[in-house]
Every structure is written in structure tokens, then in C-alpha cells.
């Protein structure tokens, strides 16, 4: 993963929902190794902004540029560069953890350094690889979802409340994973109520409650 030259830039973003302007004239630039933390009350548009950055949702105004190209034009080429963890885990409960990750790897850009078993082990799921995920706890299911981030090579991570259902161990483990990612030049945009502490990674914060 080369950290040079990649950049995510948002300019003039606006989002309107149910007649309310959630935010407008939103600008930011994110470079390699940087983390963007979105803060704000519930309903202030954090999830909408994350979905705009994924290109799943169209902004009411403004553009998002990845390496100076509009993400709406890039399509799957942009998606190959990002991993998204949303509110819902994005795993099928009738499949085992291994089967879920195999599918996730095929959908994205595989990272040859991490095998599925190693990734699950890194999240403390050793021994649970072939259990149907419906038999796992909520925290374990979340960790299966987060393992996606290891088995695919995506410089940009867009995470919506990634620490949900995680216990202290899980939180620490994931912070370690995030640190390694930024050290290698990756970028992270996330929302969380948890106080994120990452070594050596500049964490910028935008508070959406003040942005309308």
C-alpha cells in the first residue's frame, strides 16, 4: 500500500434531510496517515456524511474528490480503494465467519499479507472461524465485520461507530489495528462516541452540530 499521493477532499458539501439542512459548506482535506473524527449529536448527519463519502449517497451540494477525481465518476475504482463498516455489520448470519470473509475478500481488493484465519485471530476469534455467525455474540459479530478491514487492501477506511458492542479488549485491539493502518499511510474517517487515542496519527475533528 503506497501512502504517497492519495488524498480525499470534500468541498462545499451539503446535506438536507426532512427539510432540515443538516450541514452545508462543509470542506475538509484528508491525507495519508490522517484520521478524521466526526462528532455531533444523534441525527446531526454523521452517518449521512459517511455515506456521501462512500458515494452511496448523493450530496445535495458539493463534491468529493479522491486524488482530484470526482468519486461519482470513479465508481468501482473508488470503491476498490475504500472499506466501509456501517451500522449493520454486513455479514450473513447463516454463514460462518470464514465464509463471510471469503465473500468480502472477493468483493474487494485482497490483502495478500493476511489470511482469513490470521485476521480472525487478530480480533480474538480463534476457534470461531467455522461457527455460523448467528451463534456468536453481538461483540463477536462486530469483530468478524471489522476483520474485513484486514483482509482487504484499502487505503481509506470509513467507519460508522466501529466500537459498538466491543469490550475493552476489543477496543484496544481495534485501536492497534487502526494505528498500524495509519502508520502504513492509510486514512480513516470515523464516527464514534468513544475517545479515540492513536499514537502518531493526527486526529482532526469536525463537529456537525455546529455546521449548519
Amino acid at each position: 500500500m503506497n501512502g504517497q499521493g492519495i488524498q480525499l477532499r470534500a468541498s462545499g458539501l451539503a446535506c438536507i434531510r426532512d427539510d432540515r439542512v443538516l450541514f452545508s459548506e462543509l470542506d475538509f482535506t484528508l491525507g495519508p496517515g490522517e484520521v478524521l473524527l466526526l462528532e455531533g449529536r444523534n441525527g446531526s448527519g454523521k452517518t449521512s456524511l459517511l455515506r456521501i463519502l462512500c458515494s452511496i449517497r448523493l450530496p445535495d451540494e458539493g463534491t468529493v474528490l479522491w486524488c482530484d477525481e470526482d468519486i461519482q465518476e470513479l465508481g468501482p475504482d473508488y470503491h476498490a480503494r475504500l472499506s466501509y463498516i456501517g451500522h449493520r455489520d454486513g455479514i450473513k448470519h447463516d454463514l460462518t465467519a470464514q465464509e463471510n470473509l471469503r465473500m468480502a475478500r472477493a468483493l474487494g481488493t485482497p490483502d495478500g499479507r493476511w489470511s482469513i484465519d490470521r485476521a480472525l485471530e487478530a480480533f480474538g476469534l480463534y476457534g470461531f472461524e467455522d461457527v455460523p455467525t448467528r451463534n456468536l455474540s453481538a461483540g463477536q459479530q462486530r469483530r468478524v465485520a471489522l476483520s474485513r478491514l484486514l483482509i482487504t487492501r484499502a487505503p481509506l477506511w470509513i467507519l460508522d461507530e466501529p466500537f459498538t458492542s466491543l469490550d475493552r479488549h476489543g477496543i484496544q485491539a481495534f485501536e492497534g489495528v487502526m494505528e498500524r493502518h495509519t502508520r502504513e499511510g492509510g486514512m480513516i474517517v470515523l464516527t464514534t462516541h468513544h475517545r479515540v487515542r492513536l499514537a502518531d496519527a493526527p486526529v482532526h475533528a469536525i463537529n456537525l452540530s455546529h455546521e449548519s
Binding site: 434531510r17 426532512d18 427539510d19 448523493l58 445535495d60
Partner: protein
């Protein structure tokens, strides 16, 4: 100059104003042409040697059927423009056209049924044209239902546009399928390339009514579109000034 005009037109505020000025003129022209067409059709045109006086309902039925198809094309076209270039006015035109088109389709069905009773002795027959119109009505109702089911109006417009485009691709297929299935209806009375198989004195009122119906469509479309624009822009300054009287 033309591109500048369209650019200005796509501003909701400008559209609201200019549409408001056109409506009375278009409405007036429509009224005049309707009266002229009805007079020509009901009084002047001769009696049909086969069907007597009951054929005169074609002066409503045929233009209504033409409009039902024409409006669907406009709806799909405007929807496509709104989808590709994200022009709000195109979205408004598309969704404002839907109920008008559905009404013309319904009118065509009712008048077709009324025409059929003296001709075939039954209030409804499954002939090709009527069946196609019925399916067209369902397509319209689908677009309207889908638009109303989605809460966010921008998303609703985009979904309705996709459905309208899919419908447009299917209309010829449905039309020819139904014709294959049944050939009871008399052949088309007016086609562009053949000599019309009806008397010219019967044809003229038909064409007058066709133009009158088009004017009706545009008038009512502008009225509906103005309402839709006002509702979508209700949080903007100009709309609020309008409602509160500055």
C-alpha cells in the same frame, strides 16, 4: 441565448414566475380550440354510414389515447434528464405529468368503453387497444404509487424516473404483444404515412381536438408544476416571501 434561457428556466423561482404568465394564454387557446373542435366534430362533420352518430365519441377517445402515450414519453424523457443531469425542474415536470397522463388514459378507457357498447354490445371487450390502454394505466399508477411511497422527494423522483424509463422500453413490447393476442379493434384511423381512411371532414375536428388536448396538458402541467415547485422550495426565501406577502 437559448442555453442561457434554459439555464434561467431551470431556476425554480424563474420558472414559477414565467409559467404563471403563460397559463392564462395557453388556457384561453385551449378553450377556443376545444370549442372549435367540438363544434366541428359534433355539428359539422357528417354522419358515419356504418356507425351513425355514435362514432362521434372518437373526438374525445382518440386524442385522449394519443395524449396518454405522448405524456408517458414526456414523463420518461423528463425523468431521464432529471436523473442524468440532476435538474430539479425536469424532476418536477416528470412527476407533475404522471397524474395528467393517468387521467387521459382513464378517459380513453371510459370513452372506449362507451364507444364499444353500441358497436359491440358490451361495456368492456378485451380488444388490443383497450387492453394496451389498461396496462398503460397500471404503468402510470405504478409510477405514482412508487413516488408517493418514498419519503425523501429527491430519492422518490429518481426511483420514479427509473420506473418510467423501464416502462417506456416496455410500452412497444406490451403494445405488440397485446395486438398479437387480439385483433378485434378496427385498424388505426389516422397514421402519418398512410392516407387517412376516414373522410377529411371527420379528420379535421380530430386534429383540432388533438391540439386542444395538448394545450390542456401544457396548461395543467404548468399549474401542477408550479405547486410542486412551491412545495419543494418552501424553505427558500422567495417562496416564503410569496406566501407571507413580503
Amino acid at each position: 441565448m437559448i442555453t442561457a434561457f434554459f439555464h434561467k428556466l431551470s431556476s425554480p423561482k424563474y420558472f414559477y414566475g414565467i409559467a404563471g404568465r403563460w397559463i392564462p394564454w395557453l388556457g384561453g387557446a385551449c378553450l377556443l380550440l376545444t370549442l372549435a373542435g367540438l363544434y366541428q366534430g359534433l355539428v359539422v362533420a357528417p354522419t358515419d354510414y356504418q356507425q351513425g352518430e355514435s362514432y362521434r365519441i372518437i373526438y374525445i377517445h382518440v386524442p385522449a389515447a394519443w395524449m396518454s402515450l405522448f405524456i408517458y414519453m414526456v414523463m420518461a424523457g423528463a425523468g431521464a434528464i432529471g436523473l442524468i443531469w440532476r435538474i430539479k425542474l425536469a424532476e418536477v415536470i416528470a412527476i407533475s405529468s404522471a397524474p395528467i397522463g393517468a387521467s387521459f388514459t382513464f378517459l380513453a378507457l371510459i370513452t372506449g368503453s362507451l364507444w364499444g357498447k353500441p358497436m359491440w354490445g358490451a361495456w368492456w371487450v378485451w380488444d388490443a387497444r383497450l387492453t394496451s390502454e389498461l396496462l398503460l394505466l397500471f404503468l402510470y399508477l405504478g409510477v405514482i404509487a412508487l413516488y408517493n411511497a418514498v419519503e425523501d422527494k429527491r430519492t422518490a423522483s429518481r426511483a420514479a424516473a427509473i420506473l418510467a424509463i423501464v416502462g417506456v422500453v416496455n410500452i412497444p413490447i406490451i403494445h405488440y404483444s397485446v395486438e398479437w393476442w387480439n385483433t378485434l379493434h378496427q385498424g388505426p384511423t389516422v397514421t402519418k404515412f398512410d392516407a387517412p381512411s376516414i373522410d377529411i371532414r371527420m379528420l379535421i375536428p380530430l386534429l383540432i381536438m388533438a391540439v386542444a388536448f395538448k394545450l390542456y396538458y401544457v396548461t395543467v402541467l404548468l399549474m401542477r408544476a408550479r405547486c410542486e415547485v412551491l412545495e419543494r422550495e418552501r424553505n427558500s426565501k422567495w417562496a416564503q416571501a410569496l406566501v407571507t406577502g413580503k
